[in-house]
Symmetry: D2
Subunit: 222 residues, 4 copies
């Protein structure tokens, strides 16, 4: 994924139920085309292939299970994601935590399928920890910033800098995304100046009354 990258997590918001996931993905694509910024989208699980086959920007799964093809009813496998035309996956999101061993195994399985992996964490230590598995990205989401009104840079700029340092100590090739407290274009800019190579967004775009304008505002200083 080209960086700086902006990843938009659609979650399971009612705003993206059904065909509206593709609508929002097309809006994100429009902003990517107009600004030249690298933007990826994570639609709800059941819409993944439908969105991935109808947009040109990278589409990512919101989650992946460490399961091989076969008798895995209801699970989401790396192989299934790859065949859907998606390019990668989030892992260990704060709303979908994984066992340590499953993070290890899923990152490795994704790599062998040519899928990018973005492992979410909630602390500097966990960011360093998962970097040992050499995922493409670590997305740090300090819990005190999730869903709140405080921006990551106002609150505690050290968490981004320290997370970059921890990640690079474990594996210099792994890149950091800032995954919470990004409310405005200036926060995106600040996150990049602190060493992040992108941001992970959700409600600020998905629940906006005007997602096109909100996303444009967020990426304009990149």
């Amino acid at each position: 994924m080209r960086t700086p990258a902006v990843v938009v997590n659609f979650k399971a918001y009612s705003e993206v139920d059904g065909p509206r996931s593709l609508d929002l993905a097309l809006t994100c694509q429009k902003v990517a085309e107009e600004t030249g910024v690298s933007i990826a989208v994570c639609p709800p699980m059941v819409e993944l292939s439908h969105v991935a086959r109808n947009v040109q920007i990278p589409v990512l799964s919101q989650h992946c299970d460490p399961r091989r093809p076969g008798s895995a009813t209801g699970w989401v496998t790396p192989s299934m994601i790859a065949a859907s035309s998606a390019k990668g996956t989030l892992l260990n999101h704060s709303e979908h935590r994984l066992m340590l061993i499953d993070i290890q195994d899923t990152v490795a399985m994704c790599r062998s399928q040519g899928l990018w992996s973005i492992v979410c964490t909630d602390s500097v230590a966990s960011s360093g920890a998962v970097a040992f598995y050499s995922p493409d990205f670590v997305a740090v989401e300090p819990p005190e910033l999730i869903g709140g009104d405080i921006s990551v840079t106002d609150a505690n700029p050290d968490v981004v800098r320290d997370a970059v340092d921890a990640v690079k100590k474990a594996d210099p090739s792994v890149r950091l995304l800032c995954g919470a407290g990004v409310k405005a274009g200036k926060d995106v800019k600040a996150a990049l100046e602190l060493g992040a190579e992108g941001v992970l967004l959700a409600s600020g775009v998905v629940k906006s009354k005007d997602p096109y304008q909100s996303l444009l505002d967020l990426v304009k200083l990149i």
Copy 2:
């Protein structure tokens, strides 16, 4: 779902990766049209909406999480399934077991979304147990028959009869599917004679070299 019903679970078999899920769903639709038999399909999670929007037969999810719309990254919600044009879901499959309380809550949430629920079990007692939640169907899959070469009727016809009795004792409106040991048309016929109102199939169709012919053979005595 009209009964007798034949439900085909695609699992995560590599035979249905990507666009091949829709191909197989169309094949199942062809058999349904030619024979008049009620056939439903359960594609992999990431293909759900793609398949559901392109076939006329009922499409079901392989799994559903008891989560409401909102911050539920990577989970599969009843609301999301309903919006995908699917008609219902499997629950508690032997490859994807659920907590008792989640079965209770998910069946209720599916009902309020107008979705059918098919709860899988592995025993007579569990079939009666989940029928207390009044799902549309219980699919009994005795573990000794899963994946084996023995048919449910040869092995132990009582398990079907007893499961029907247990289910009706808890809630007479709940219908039973026979979910394992169905290898040939005569097994489907026998299951129906024992009181089942349909069957849940997987590898016999999905991994067949000729799924059209295999499915036709299975439903021909209905």
Copy 3:
């Protein structure tokens, strides 16, 4: 377990840390001896054998995993509970929910070890459901009453009556305990009149400043 039965769940309250578990168990034993009421205690996991070997009243585990002896590091097996001198176990407590299949398997494993099982549920339907596995007791804890100030009999006496009916429909030999909303002796009496054969208590005794007097007050109308 002789009925009517009063089961005291010590949970992980700091009031019973370390040696204080045995102290409280001895207090419960004193009340049992003085009143003749059947009282059982559920100490914290790590104190189980210590308490069970030092009191005469029945001691129960708070939880049990469906695991056999062997390579099961950190799990609590039926065999281990039996060898500790405890007489049975709670299962599926609202703070420790289990998969349906694990309730089924653990109840069966406990029975084969001669252990009583008390399966907790949160509704009439779930009470009927788990009774299909023929545990010794079902303890119904309606969520609206857990931890609150409303007693089960004031709030909704039907939930106890209906749970008894559901349980007996599935297996007439299974007995019901009332597991929430029991604040005073009159609630115990009312629960018994509604068809319960005992109660499951926790904070009212364990967090009381005078557990002896509190327990005495609770059992005095039995």
Copy 4:
């Protein structure tokens, strides 16, 4: 814990059911006294306080849940372990895996209770990963050696050396235990020469016909 350390995991083996856990712990204590080697024992959960109050050598829990005192029915809390007289706990054993975030939280909670933590892992990368949380020890158990007849030093001495390097890179104060493939005294010696500061043993002692002699043989070259 004084190093080099030998930690004996009793698992849920039937050989240590009930009072036999204390018997084995006393045998281990005898070897510790006779040889001066630092030996710790991990009895089954329900025997923890009973063993911890009756031996002088360190007693460790086999597992710990990231739960605070209070409404945590059936869970094993750091506070409960500390109050039992045990000195620490294993975490994330291969038979009892944890979520990444729970490893992080439990290590921190154990530290604040004055408990040692030993986090088990199955690879070099995971050993480095969990060292970011600064537990007292990481115990690496390569899956190819668990339960087999191959010793860690014959099979692949690099795994121990590389795990030491990964751990020290994340936090130089964390020490490594070798947790699989230790069959004889020479394996213990070799593990220490490769940089491990102790070993984690199980069946070789617990399932031995003569645990005293087996443990003596294992520690004699330390």
